[in-house]
Symmetry: C2
Subunit: 377 residues, 2 copies
Amino acid sequence: MSTDVAVVGAGVIGLAVAWRAVSAGHRVTVFDPLPARGGASWVAGGMLAPVAEAWPGEEAALALGEESLRRWPAFARELRAQGFDCGLSAQGTIVAAFDRADADQLGVLAGYLDGIGRSATLVTGRELRRTEPGLGSVRSGLLVPGDVFVDNRRLLESLLLAARARGAEFVAEAVVELAADRVATASSGARRFDAVVLCAGAHSGTLHPELASAVRPVKGEILRLRSRRGTLPPPRHTIRAVVESRPVYLVPRDDGSLVLGATQYEAGFDTGVRARGVRELLEGAERVFPSITEYELIETTAGLRAGSDDNVPYLGLLSDGVYAATGHHRNGLLLAPITSDAVLAWLSGTPAPPGTEKARPDRNASEERADAGVCQR
Amino acid sequence: MSTDVAVVGAGVIGLAVAWRAVSAGHRVTVFDPLPARGGASWVAGGMLAPVAEAWPGEEAALALGEESLRRWPAFARELRAQGFDCGLSAQGTIVAAFDRADADQLGVLAGYLDGIGRSATLVTGRELRRTEPGLGSVRSGLLVPGDVFVDNRRLLESLLLAARARGAEFVAEAVVELAADRVATASSGARRFDAVVLCAGAHSGTLHPELASAVRPVKGEILRLRSRRGTLPPPRHTIRAVVESRPVYLVPRDDGSLVLGATQYEAGFDTGVRARGVRELLEGAERVFPSITEYELIETTAGLRAGSDDNVPYLGLLSDGVYAATGHHRNGLLLAPITSDAVLAWLSGTPAPPGTEKARPDRNASEERADAGVCQR
């Protein structure tokens, strides 16, 4: 059955939903003042790294990530079949440890991953430098072969073009009102839809009362650098490390550039790039990959991740006809396939992908009710 | 007598020369692919700081700088009389010392300046912080009241508009050939002029054989930052310091922003912004003015100063009808008034300003001849 669908937000989630929904025969209208370019997924590094991002206690997030990662090849294949590329790379991730404390942490992570049956190999610093000769004085490392990465900007452009080619309509305006069956922007009157999918990332909380305190902006600064004549080329793998308690990652790109991320802190909706963030990222990266100090700094940006309370997104019905597909925090690119599959299932009334039930928007409300015993809201 | 003058280069020197020459009744044509915006003076901080820049042994450069500084008020006044501002500020410079070695250096500088009769006052760290409360744990400092600064970009825009308003013609192309009486660009044929003034900064060496080995590009990275809600405003004075052997300066702007400079190294004509330069500047600035760490980083750029062998520019006749007004290194903004006065004197056959005779382009050749005794070239 064809449905008239409004997609609010055109970051990676909104674009993936729009592209898949229009491909499935729905009529799709996407609202975003700056499609593809305005949100966290444009700023991001592009890691699809559920395992290297995993941590004991976050099994629901890991399960969702692993399920989505399994769906990534088909997602990329379908996009490619339509003539669009997304720079998917299967080089894997290296998590590097530079001191004893880091190495101990890696041991904990390796043990945890082993216990839940995920593939990851602890190696010595010497072995690691044989794989990536540009690394600094690394003590040990964890090879995570299953973690892949995409060129996020190429992906966003591809999804935008692919959705448009299939007939999705784009309205380059911000939504100011969003109710069961009406979506309004500042300059146009309300329009009726059969279903509204809220994919507005960090801004989702301002658009629906159920998310008002559930989604918060988590700011991150990120840099882009380019190798120059006489410098080492970027590493082949994504490299992750913790330097002076601060996580840092380097994600290579085909063109000799790399993405260096990311700070993480809460500062409301501010997207200014702080001096401190830039200095800390550069310091951390120099420890991990010393040659980067001679790279050209070509871009400094900041974006707002859509943080949730438990690092699990909000996927499902919010109110009559309005669905949430938001709160993806650092994992929007990773979770785009499973999220768009879930939306298609909601629209057609078929079962949603496994794991998404743990992402219901009312999960915290249910817990609160359970905690409070008889005192239900 | 009116003369047909070609000015090659539209940085601060070329624009000042063009504006003064057209104001004096000459016909002026300026060649530059990107007038006002292409060169070191656009990137610069805007300090007019002959004293704080001074060092024993560089008396010729200091004398020229002091003479030009005396001419700055009239220069700015004339520009203002035509309706253009240049953001001239007389707040003065503070040179801050953060450790014993720095403090010793300040003592040497203060003694030297005192010996040659310049005004500068040594103060304690406590006194300094009373003047600029945002400074870090400073040990002592030197107050240099006579050093002033301009908003270099406002100045460049003003000179460009002022010269244009008086009838200077601008050709937005690079000069590829420059001879006694012909100036050619890639797309236009050669044009004849009575006089050609070479103001092409770091590129001057590629345009005239006499300067080929005399002018070299000296690269510098520079950052622009802006205070944010909750941060201290920028200091009122220009602050200079040496942090871990690297000079750093902070120059405030009216709008709550500041300029943070500058690295200095030779890398040919490369103008990429290196990661190292950005990191070192930010580290240095945090030591000097800790609040800057929360400022927004709004611009990273690199420019090429026109370095000379002895930090003195090249001012005077190069060959028949061709004059040099280049090699100003870090002092182009400071030396714009005296340089334009010198050009006017050459064009009218009157005596050039005092001090400019030590900047003759053939001064090194003369010395070499003197050194070599009878063996003249």
